[in-house]
Amino acid sequence: MLIITLTALGLATLIYWVFAFTIIYHLVRFGIGKTPKKLASVFLVGTVALFSLSILLFSLVDFRAIGHNLNLFNEDSIFSF
């Protein structure tokens, strides 16, 4: 279960950054004038900030406590590991 979760998170992160890179690449490579370049820099800063914030918040969450609150970690539960 843990491996599946970590793999899914890794895949989601990869997809996210590939999408972000594609947006920045298109704005810089095909954008005409200074507006697309400015937007690309704003997007990059915002993406890094939001991603860092999400990672930080994720690391602060106590999933076991939440799981116990929601009774997810019973003996028969698939979430028990």
Binding site: F19, H26, G31, K38, F43, L50, F51, S54, L57
Partner: protein
């Protein structure tokens, strides 16, 4: 370093495939009204988790779910941020370029679907402007159609600001007979 930051300075709107003596007269995109509407929509759905969190705060805190909710909200913000800038990218990359030699229509439909067509000024036969509806009249945007001499499809500028001025610029740069 100077070259790196030069992209943010004053631009002559140069583009790929530009000829040596070709001067860009106009760089046109659809009227900002459309992207502003889309942006308002994305801002509303960006703010939605915050508002929902405030409304459900007591419930989430009593169940010890507030931290999880905040993480899920941050993931939501990440996704909407991407989608918003995808919409902005499509808007910015959909351009019409009017130069002293030709008109270029570059249409971006998705990341990997781009079409570029051009029309030399010497082949322009007729230009017509269409402004219809309340919003178009108030905000001064509309469609401009350029008819060529041949049997090709009309060259269309859709929902551009000040189409009459654009028509005047194109007409002023037609080769004199």
């Amino acid at each position: 370093m100077k070259t790196l930051f030069s992209v943010f300075k004053e631009s002559h709107n140069s583009f790929e495939g530009q000829e040596k003596d070709e001067v860009v007269l106009l760089l046109l995109r659809r009227h900002p009204f459309f992207i502003i509407l889309q942006s308002i929509f994305y801002i509303i759905i960006l703010l939605a988790p915050i508002i929902i969190g405030l409304v459900l705060a007591s419930f989430l805190l009593s169940r010890g779910l507030m931290e999880l909710y905040i993480v899920l909200a941050s993931i939501w913000e990440l996704i909407i941020w991407q989608l918003w800038f995808y919409a902005l990218t499509m808007y910015l990359l959909d351009v019409w370029i009017v130069t002293n030699q030709r008109i270029i229509d570059s249409t971006q439909r998705g990341f990997f679907n781009r079409s570029v067509s051009e029309l030399h000024n010497s082949r322009i036969q007729d230009i017509s402007v269409k402004v219809s509806g309340l919003f178009q009249s108030l905000l001064k945007f509309g469609d401009l159609e350029v008819q060529t001499a041949g049997t090709e499809n009309k060259f269309r500028f859709l929902q551009i600001p000040n189409p009459v001025e654009v028509k005047n610029v194109i007409m002023a740069n037609l080769p004199q007979l």
